[in-house]
Each structure stands twice: as C-alpha cells, then as structure tokens.
C-alpha cells in the first residue's frame, strides 16, 4: 500500500507541487474570485484534464493525438444525454407534440426516443458510459493503429481526420443528437439544480478533487514500469520491441488512459457549463488543447494544469478587449513554445531551480572554504 502511495506522490518536489496547486485552486481562488469567475476557472480546469492526458500520451508516449477533443466530447455528450433526459420529463415538455423527448428531437419531427438514448435514463449507466464509451473508442482506434505500427505523423493526421468525421456526423444528425447547437438547456442532476451558485461551488470542488485524483493516477503510471517503458519506446521504439515487449499494448494502454482522463474533463465541462456542442469535438479545439499541454510543459502533469489556466486566462482577457490580437498571440505562442521552450513552463521552472541549486551549492562550498581557513 505504501509503495503505491509513494509512487503516486513521487518525490518531495512533486508533493510540494501538488499541494501548492491545490491550495492555489482550492483556497486562494475561491476567496479572491466571485462565483462567475470561479465557474470560468472551473471550465478551464476541465480542459486541464485533456492537457494532462496529452502529457501522458504525447509527452511520455510520443503519441501526438490531434483528436483528444473526440474523447472530451464523447464524455461530455454521455453526461449531457443523461441531463437532457432528466430535463425533458413529460410535465416540462407538455407543450411539445410528443412530450417526454428532448426538445430538439421534437423540432425535428421525431416521435420516439432513439434506441441509444434509452439507457441514458439511468444515472449509473451514464456515469459508467462517460468512462467506458471513450475508452472503448480509444481502444478500437489504438488497437487498429498501433498493431499496424501506424505512428508519429500518420497517427496525428488520422486522429485529426477522425475528429473531423465525428464533428460532421454530429452536425449532420440534427434530430438525434442536437446537431450544430449541441445539447443545451441542462438544468438538474437528480433533482439538484446545477445552475445556482452553491451547486457551482460544489461542482468546482468535485472538479478539483477529480483533477487531483487524475494527477495521482497519472503519476502512479509514470513512476512505474509502464512510465519507464513509455519513455524508452518514445526514444527508440524498435529497441524496446526487440527486447521482447509488445510495444503496441503499452501505447494502446496509455492512449486509453488518456481518453478516460479527457472524458472526465468533458463530463465535468457539461456539468459546470450546462451544455455540450460539437465545437468542442473538432480539430481546432483538439489542437488548442495540445498547445495547453505544450505551454505548461509536455513532460509535467502539474505544468499542464498551469498551462491550461494561463492560456485560457489570456484568451479570455484578450478576446474580451482585443479579439484580433488574440489570434496573433495564439499563433506566436504555438511557434514560440515549440521553438524556444520545448518543455514549456515546467521546463523553464526546472532550469531556474537547477540554476538556484547550483548557486546555493557554490555559496555553501565557498562558506565552507572560508570557515576552514579561519
């Protein structure tokens, strides 16, 4: 048990890093910000799940997925379908020509709930689906690609195409899953109003708790044998394969974990923001999420959270006042991070710490020398 705990917590700096970000997000921000802004931070934090998932599969596994939005969206849609069914009980939808089905289905002349909506009536099923549907989907994609040794650039392009396909499918199915508007007007979770302030506070903390859990799970994986193998196969895949490991299985595993993380983010997004739409599934949001991870540092789970917060804060700040400037900045961020700071914020932080340690050592040894001489 304690071995597992050690692996989750990592070394002393890792523990401090986790405590610092938990205090920052859990104590400091709720004290400083009003509930509107805090809800906004909560929304950013749901993207942090995706950024962390990219640290796992891109930073450590070397698998750049340009379709993490797929899993974010699938998780979000699973949650949204449950909430939508709850929001459209026969009494509230009495004015529709078919009461008891979601409003957008009624607008599209559907008279019956489609079969894949039926099981989402149960909350347990929806919760399981949030995790299982994206993971199974990731398993199918991963198994089909990695077993055939599709990797690197080709994998990135194909995931991008899958994200495009899914967006086109959702937008095309106006009646079945809400089309381009997405699933909107979500009100309650088991009769609990998710739109009032106290619910928003609670959801924010649930979100934070899940984020911390994901950090621990991520560390547990990375600090173990799987993590070492991932790093090894990122550098020399063939050599790992010749050592007798089935490389594909490790890649599939980490890709599935990444999908599950993203899906949790998607579900929390739906709960906190109150809707889900195809604009979070496609290519553009997926690539933006890659930049969150890159800015934070592709090798650091905590860094990914900071990166997400920072980029999104910048986006909100600039797109409120200078919308044109934001695209320039975003572009410059992509280029700058890739060219000048490949390890992102975490990399800058680490090199600063290294420098400081070196300096401290020098001061120590210098004072030791002076002490000896006196």
């Amino acid at each position: 048990m304690s071995v597992a705990l050690n692996r989750m917590l990592g070394n002393k700096t890792d523990i401090i890093g986790l405590i610092v970000i938990l205090i920052f997000l859990g104590v400091l921000l709720p004290l400083v910000l009003d509930i509107f802004r805090l809800n906004l931070v909560g929304k950013y934090l749901t993207y942090a799940f995706v950024a962390m998932s990219l640290v796992l599969c891109w930073g450590y596994g070397g698998i750049l997925s340009l379709g993490q939005g797929i899993f974010f969206g699938l998780g979000g849609y699973c949650m949204a379908m449950f909430l939508k069914l709850e929001a459209s009980d026969p009494e509230t939808t009495a004015i529709q020509s078919t009461p008891g089905i979601p409003d957008f289905m009624d607008w599209n002349q559907l008279t019956e709930l489609p079969w894949f909506w039926v099981p989402f009536d149960s909350f347990t099923f929806a919760l399981v689906a949030v995790l299982v549907v994206p993971t199974v989907f990731a398993y199918i994609i991963g198994a089909a690609m990695f077993k055939r040794r599709v990797s690197g650039v080709y994998f990135a392009i194909i995931t991008q195409a899958i994200a495009a396909i899914l967006t086109i499918l959702i937008i095309g199915q106006q009646g079945l899953i809400g089309g381009v508007n997405g699933i909107t007007d979500l009100r309650t979770l088991h009769g609990w109003d998710i739109r009032d302030d106290s619910a928003k506070y609670i959801l924010y903390y649930i979100n934070l708790f899940l984020l911390a859990v994901c950090v621990l799970i991520g560390r547990y994986i990375l600090n173990g044998k799987v993590g070492k193998l991932l790093l090894a196969l990122k550098d020399k895949e063939d050599r790992v394969r010749f050592s007798g490991y089935d490389v594909a299985n490790f890649k599939i595993f980490i890709f599935c974990v990444a999908a599950a993380f993203s899906a949790i983010g998607g579900a929390m997004f739906t709960l906190q923001v109150g809707f889900m739409s195809p604009s979070f599934v496609g290519i553009v949001p997926s690539i933006e999420m890659v930049i969150f991870a890159a800015v934070g540092g592709r090798m650091s789970l905590i860094g990914a959270i900071y990166g997400t917060l920072l980029v999104n804060y910048g986006k909100t700040l600039f797109s409120e006042s200078f919308p044109e400037l934001w695209l320039f900045l975003m572009g410059a961020l992509f280029i700058g991070v890739v060219m000048a700071f490949p390890n992102g914020l975490a990399g800058i932080y680490n090199s600063l710490v290294e420098k400081y340690k070196l300096k401290m050592n020098r001061v120590d040894s210098a004072s030791a020398v002076t002490e000896q001489s006196t």
Binding site: V153, I157, Q160, A161, E324, F328, L333
Partner: protein
C-alpha cells in the same frame, strides 16, 4: 439506391457528378502536389499550406483590382500574369518561413506541425486585417465565363476546363522537374540519403530551402486558379488542409503517382456519393473508407519499399 433511376439517367448522373468530382480532384491535386513535395521529400508537416494557397488567391484578386483600375485593356490577359506572380510571392514567403522557422525543426516532425499551425493562425489574421473578413472574388476575364455545351444535359463550364488544364500542365511539370531535371535529382538524392548527398557535394540545406519554397509556390498557383471557381476568404485555405493531408498520406507520402491516384479516388467517391446521400454523409463515408484502407496499408497506396 440505384433502382429509382434508368440506365441513361444513371449515365448522365455519373458523367455530371464525375465532372464535378473532377474539379474537386483538381483542388485536391493542386494542393497535394505542393504538400507531397514538402511532406514526402522532407517529412515536414506544413499546416500552413492552405494559407500559401490563400496568398495566391489574394494576389490574383489584387492584380485584378489593379488591372481593372489602371490598365483595363489588359483585363483579358492579366490572369496569366497572376499565376506567375502568385507563384513567386508564395515562393518567397515559403523561402522566408523555411529560413526563419522550419529549418530549426527538421529533427522534430511533430513540432513542425504545431509551429506551422501557429503560423497559419497568424497568416489568417493578417489576411483578415488586410482584406477584411468578407470573401472576395477577382473580376474574371470575359473568355473565362460561359460554358461549352457537350450534349443536351451535359455542359462543361470553361473555368472548370481551365482548372483541369492547369492541373494537368502543373502535374506534368512537377513530374518532369522531380524526375528529369538536375534540381529534381538533387532533391531526390537528399531525401533518400542526406548524409551521402552532402558528402557528394550537394548543399542539402539549400536543397531543403528551395524544395520547401517550391512546394509553397505550387500552392500559390493553386490559389490563383481557384479564384476562378470559388471566392476567397481569410480561412478558405484551411478548409481543405486535413483532406489534403489525407490525400497525401493515402497515396503514399513519397509517391507523386500515388498522390494523383488517391486525389482522384477520394474526389470521385465523394462527389458521386454526394448525389445519392447527403453531402456530409458522403464525406464521412469517404473519410472512413480512407482511414480503414490506411489501417490495412499504413504506408499508403503506392509506397516505396525500403528496409527500416
């Protein structure tokens, strides 16, 4: 789905959809030619390729505005000048991009993807600031308008024929350049064995720079030609970028013949299915088929066999 139509109707449907598929094929091929050179020869993923196309399109638009205002008598011929100018402007921008950015990233292909995506965001915003968010079209010369009546139901627009012929000429030219000329020989040598080519006296850095710029220049020509069939907006290049990458990957990255074959099959599949299904379902089915075939043949349709 075929039973509702008679044989002759089916024939004309296939002919008409086939022709509209042909213009889609030209769009894909013109974009993919430049991309296949850059990606296939240099392993650089240029996500800003669509923006080089937009550069060509805006160049044509600017030239048409200038010609109309100052030398209206030249209106009938400016288009040929536009193609050449579009090539050179895209070439120069591509040269500068390679010099300033891409050459630092050759060892990290996935990072070129992110950096060029950033570049494409910046370029789109520049277009938006310079030309406005609205779509523009150049005034086309009179001889380009109208169409040629083939049979009672089949008529072929002249601008479509222009696109097809430019695509044909350009493809032949690229083929000739890569396979017969000295510059092409250098490019192929550098791709196949960089160290050896360097030792044999080829300046591989220079080859890389000109290859990248040349690929961008071709995108510029593509942009000039597209102004005849569609209007241009700040984001019009990025609409096709994912499709084009799939075309290149599907065809086999280093094979121009494969690029042509895959552009043709994807365009025709999509266009013919569009008649029977909705446009979005046709696209979904086409992309899905491509992905499934890619899973079976990860190296693409026509791959050069190498030991790894």
């Amino acid at each position: 789905m075929f039973s509702d139509y008679s044989a002759s109707e089916l024939g004309s449907i296939f002919a008409m959809q086939g022709f509209s598929g042909l213009s889609l094929f030209c769009v894909f091929l013109l974009m993919a030619l430049g991309l296949a050179i850059i990606f296939g020869q240099m392993q650089v993923i240029n996500m800003a390729h669509g923006e080089f196309l937009t550069i060509g399109a805006y160049t044509t638009y600017l030239l048409s505005v200038v010609t109309e205002k100052y030398i209206p008598g030249f209106m009938n011929y400016y288009f040929f000048l536009a193609i050449i100018v579009a090539f050179f402007i895209a070439f120069i921008v591509g040269y500068l991009v390679e010099l300033g950015m891409v050459r630092h990233l050759y060892k990290r292909p996935l990072d070129t993807l992110l950096a060029t995506w950033g570049l494409s965001l910046i370029m789109q915003q520049i277009f938006r600031s310079a030309f406005g968010a609205r779509e523009v079209s150049p005034t086309l010369p009179d001889w380009l308008l109208g169409s040629y009546q083939l049979t009672d139901i089949i008529e072929i627009p002249i601008n479509g024929m222009l696109v097809v012929s430019v695509t044909f000429i350009l493809t032949v030219a690229v083929f000739y350049m890569l396979n017969k000329s000295r510059a092409g020989l250098r490019i192929r040598a550098t791709t196949q064995n960089r160290v050896m080519s360097g030792a044999a006296g080829i300046n591989t850095k220079k080859v890389d720079r000109y290859t990248f710029a040349f690929g961008c220049g071709i995108a510029g020509i593509a942009g000039a030609v597209f102004t005849t069939i569609a209007s241009t907006g700040p984001t019009s290049g990025s609409l096709y970028i994912v499709d084009t990458f799939l075309v290149v990957v599907f065809g086999g990255a280093a094979s121009l013949l494969g690029t042509i074959a895959s552009a043709f099959s994807i365009a025709q599949a999509q266009s013919i299915m569009e008649f029977f299904l909705s446009g979005s379902m046709a696209k979904v089915l086409t992309l899905l088929t491509v992905i499934i075939i890619l899973m079976i043949k990860p190296e693409g349709l026509f791959s050069i066999k190498v030991r790894k």
